[in-house]
Symmetry: C2
Subunit: 162 residues, 2 copies
């Protein structure tokens, strides 16, 4: 599965139906998908490959329960930076993205500049991370922490038209 550069393709309702299935369970046999969307299995397979090559399907992954691997704490962090020059912002992006504990990182507008989703085993680990990532960064003006008590809904499912 080589993540080729995407070149934007058009999707019909067959593709969307296939995506909707794969978004929920990508172990579904192509034969079964074919039955539900009224196509042959090879046709389904061709469409899947096309969407993978175009980058519509970015990756196929197993989703792991953090709690069961000792990474029980999910934390949101809003980060505000001092200077928003392109270089400094890019540097921050690269630094945040390179940290394994940072599960997600978004560059946003509004009262904050970055929003991070962090996964750590203990609050002590989080504290150590803040020292390294925020207090150790001259360009971080302020950050706000939100500890998750309940992961009500977690996923990367995209609402699809149709």
């Amino acid at each position: 599965m080589v993540p080729k550069p995407s070149s934007s393709i058009t999707l019909d309702s067959f593709d969307l139906a296939i995506l909707n299935t794969l978004q929920r369970d990508n172990t579904t046999p192509q034969r079964v998908i074919g039955e539900t969307v009224s196509l042959s299995a090879p046709a389904v397979q061709r469409r899947i490959r096309r969407m993978e090559e175009a980058g519509v399907i970015q990756t196929n992954v197993a989703i792991v329960d953090p709690a069961q691997v000792g990474q029980a704490i999910t934390i949101f962090v809003e980060v505000e930076v001092i200077s928003e020059t392109a270089e400094l912002v890019d540097a921050a992006k690269r630094e945040f993205a390179s940290v394994p504990e940072v599960q997600q990182c978004y560059y946003v507008t509004g009262e904050a500049d970055f929003v991070l989703v962090v996964i750590v085993p203990t609050m002590a680990a989080y504290e150590a991370l803040t020292r390294r990532l925020f207090f150790g960064n001259n360009n971080v003006k302020r950050f706000r922490t939100f500890v998750a008590m309940d992961r009500v809904k977690v996923g990367l499912t995209v609402p699809l038209p149709e």
Copy 2:
């Protein structure tokens, strides 16, 4: 793939290595995984199934690029509620979780009570969603919006020990 109720199992370094592979690409053949962790393919397969039954592996999904399916805008929302009684909080959880545009929902401590990750095709759609979800809810005191300009890092990969 039946998502059975989990009953917490112990994981050894073999399991963690397998998880680390599947987290990144669950289409990796078990034979290949076996080679990298020094186990036979059936042994790998049995471990995977055990972890699926125990809920360590929650699901297997394809990750779709929102931009390529016309859902280009990612938005963070911090929601603050008026009353935090158990019933009202549960009601809010259920309502947020039921909305397809709400990709993720966390109940958090701190200056906000909920954090949402929302995916919409247009700002108009977001505005309509806020009317329905926040202005139409008596228990919502205030919400703050952060529009994502760059999805720097997106995923549900859990940092694994070892």
